[in-house]
């Protein structure tokens, strides 16, 4: 077990390095001259040249890279070209919003999707299955921003149940509890819409897996042994269908991260995704690299977690003795 973990962590570290390298080079092959994004028409050519020196864009590429790796590992992302503030300072305030949005959306949609999927598989042709298949397809086939814009228009403007923007009310509520509730109230529509858009594919996938698994011999065996149906369903069938579900979790993750860019745009949320978008648009290399890196870190961490769960859930994978034959 230990060697498995060493390997996985080393692998993750390698991925990390590759992500850093990819970030570094991707942003440097982007077209354009960064000086042009921060100049004012009234600056003289000398003033422009001075900007270039001030931002250290004249160092050789190799040295720029070495510095970059060390900085990434110490979370020292440098100074944003656009704001001229430390990037981590700017990102810090955004990470909690994004984690809250992604976390709640991911957990809620996977939980709801799994539960509905299993239920649908249990009662073939039942009402739940119909609902799952229909709502799953519908929610999976609408463009997310379209649904979100319509929801925003309906629920925040026409019937103003939810706020139009942001994650706090202005002026701020006075007490801590009120602020927490206020935050949740602001989170409800964006996260809710992501759940609405996300649970369908989960449910269908889980249902398909479960249908398959429920037909396996060992389920018939378990049933024959007279085990209660709930236990058969969850302890036997679902447990054996878990690894592919975890794969789905992994696959869904970057997609949901990408969805964050759109969600944060639609709901004017102050998050990492929106920051990434703005930085890419503004050719703000340090900022975009850092935001990319943070999102990559989140994905790598979740990857590791899912790997662990995968190993625990599917003993058929002979962890230690794999390959090397």
């Amino acid at each position: 077990m230990r060697s498995y973990w060493t390997k996985r962590v080393l692998g993750a570290a390698a991925v990390l390095l590759l992500v850093i390298a990819a970030n570094f080079f991707l942003f440097r092959i982007m077209p354009g001259d960064v000086v042009s994004t921060i100049v004012d028409p009234r600056f003289s050519p000398e003033a422009k040249e001075r900007m270039r020196e001030v931002f250290g864009l004249d160092l050789p590429l190799g040295r720029q890279f070495a510095v970059y790796v060390r900085r990434m590992l110490t979370f020292d992302f440098g100074i944003s070209f656009l704001s001229q503030r430390p990037v981590w300072d700017e990102l810090k305030s955004r990470v909690p919003n994004t984690v809250a949005l992604l976390g709640s959306a991911l957990v809620l949609s996977s939980a709801l999707g799994t539960w509905l999927g299993v239920k649908a598989a249990r009662k073939r042709g039942g009402f739940t299955e119909k609902v799952v298949l229909l709502s799953g397809s519908v929610s999976f086939s609408f463009p997310s921003f379209f649904v979100q814009l319509v929801l925003l228009l309906l629920l925040a403007y026409t019937f103003p149940l939810f706020p139009l923007r942001g994650s706090v009310s202005i002026p701020l509520p006075q007490t801590g509890t009120a602020r927490a509730l206020d935050y949740l109230w602001h989170l409800l529509l964006p996260a809710g819409s992501l759940v609405l858009l996300g649970f369908g594919s989960w449910a269908i996938y889980v249902r398909n897996l479960m249908v398959k698994t429920l037909g396996e011999d060992f389920i018939l065996m378990a049933r024959a042994k007279g085990l209660p149906e709930g236990r058969v369903l969850w302890n036997h069938a679902f447990r054996s269908a878990l690894p592919p579900v975890l794969t789905l979790f992994l696959l869904a993750l970057p997609g949901i991260v990408s969805g964050a860019v759109l969600t944060e745009t639609v709901f004017s949320l102050h998050g990492v995704g929106k920051y990434l978008l703005d930085s890419i648009m503004g050719h703000d290399y340090p900022a975009a690299g850092a935001a990319f890196y943070i999102l990559g870190l989140l994905t790598i961490a979740s990857n590791l977690a899912a790997d662990a769960a995968y190993a625990l859930a599917d003993p058929r994978i002979r962890v230690g003795g794999r390959v090397q034959s």
Partner: protein, 397 residues
């Protein structure tokens, strides 16, 4: 037991037919301006006027308009008149309520170029109304006969054309540039189909071959490929698409390539995990001990086993690619010259159709995308069920 083919297959054929035959059958270039911007569909009721045009010529120096509707959105007056006589001329508008406005005047004696548009600030200023007021509401205060007449000496030649754009248009209205939404919608279906199908085919082929190879070979190759997959998976798709679109440009085929190149990993991983557990299974071990070569096992046993997974990937993949195209377009990262449904939504959003309640700009492309996605999902499911009848839902179709 034979049932009629599923609805989705029929719908797919219908969509294909529209995509193939629709655009050539359109009466003209879909980029043409047909009516005023944001004109609602003709059938949506209300009291908006039809288009009107008239001319002032040496023969007819007056246009009378029997107006029975709300004020038109705009009024344009263009053309030229030649005058021999050296005395002043004026264009006078008389409303049904008896109000009288001078729209333009000329000293006479030569060629008079007229180019008036009721949206011009100078036009509003000339009528003495504030910049945000509508000049046409002043000129069309109520129902009845309004007249435009030329006062002064008779022109010796030329003509002036008066045009009032209609307030409603076609089956699906017009967009922010006054283009016919129905035409755009029909043209747009091609792009969605093209992007969705080609990108997914590319991605599935890549995913299948890489996944099978990796899962079956195992060892260093597997480790290497999976690391590569990890790296690609660790980078959120949308941002990397944005970066690549920035470098490669926004052409349609670039988009297809990029979408294909960055969406095979899911299939590869799933196929690989399947291949991995199959590889460990008894019957493959048995085959191997019987001396079956790796390609034989891959081709005869792993590939058929992986097929349902791949088909699931396709069924989810086409909508995925279509939605990715829509998302990129929504962020403005698509070729502005190519009309796609995603592009239509982007423009509708960019020009304020959502807040303006211009539903005819939003609903058709939005529902169109969803419908295509639903069709592919259902087809995918049907194929899946054929391959693996256990999945067949009791009533779930």
């Amino acid at each position: 037991m034979r049932k009629p083919p599923r609805w989705s297959f029929m719908a797919f054929l219908l969509i294909l037919a529209v995509a193939a035959a629709g655009p050539p059958m359109l009466p003209g270039d879909p980029g043409r301006t047909m009516a005023k911007p944001f004109a609602p569909p003709a059938w949506s009721g209300g009291d908006a006027p039809p288009p009107f045009s008239g001319a002032i010529t040496p023969a007819s120096r007056e246009i009378t308009i029997d107006w029975k509707w709300d004020a038109p959105e705009n009024l344009t007056l263009k053309g030229q008149l030649a005058f021999d006589e050296d005395s002043p001329v004026r264009l006078v508008w008389t409303t049904a309520e008896g109000g009288s406005f001078t729209l333009a005047s000329f000293r006479g004696g030569s060629l008079w170029e007229v180019d008036l548009d009721a949206r011009d600030m100078a036009f509003k200023t000339g009528l003495g109304i504030p910049p945000f007021a509508s000049a046409t509401s002043l000129l069309f205060p109520g129902r009845g006969v309004q007249t435009l007449s030329l006062e002064g000496p008779a022109p010796s030649g030329g003509s002036l054309d008066l045009a009032l754009p209609g307030g409603r248009w076609g089956l699906l209205g017009t967009d922010q540039r006054g283009r016919d939404v129905l035409s755009l919608f029909i043209v747009g279906v091609r792009v969605s189909l093209l992007v969705g199908i080609s990108a997914t085919l590319l991605a599935s082929l890549l995913g299948l071959s890489i996944g099978l190879t990796s899962g079956y070979l195992g060892g260093a190759a597997d480790a290497l490929i999976m690391r590569a997959v990890d790296v690609l998976l660790s980078i959120p798709v949308l941002p990397i698409l944005m970066v690549f679109v920035g470098i490669w440009g926004k052409g349609l085929w670039q988009l297809v390539m990029i979408l294909g190149l960055f969406s095979w990993m899911g299939t590869a991983r799933t196929v690989r995990s399947l291949a991995l557990s199959l590889r460990e299974s008894c019957y493959v071990e048995n085959l191997r001990s019987l001396g079956a070569g790796p390609w034989y096992i891959l081709y005869r046993h792993l590939l058929p086993e992986a097929m349902p997974v791949v088909l699931a990937a396709v069924s989810l993949g086409v909508p995925g690619a279509i939605l990715a195209e829509a998302g990129l377009s929504f962020l403005g990262l698509s070729d502005p010259r190519v009309i796609s449904w995603g592009r239509m939504l982007h423009e509708a959003h960019g020009f304020g159709a959502f807040t303006a309640g211009a539903w005819w700009l939003i609903i058709p492309p939005g529902l169109g995308i969803s419908l295509i996605c639903l069709v592919f999902l259902d087809m995918g499911r049907a194929i899946e069920e054929m391959a693996d009848p256990r999945l067949k839902g009791g009533g779930g179709r």
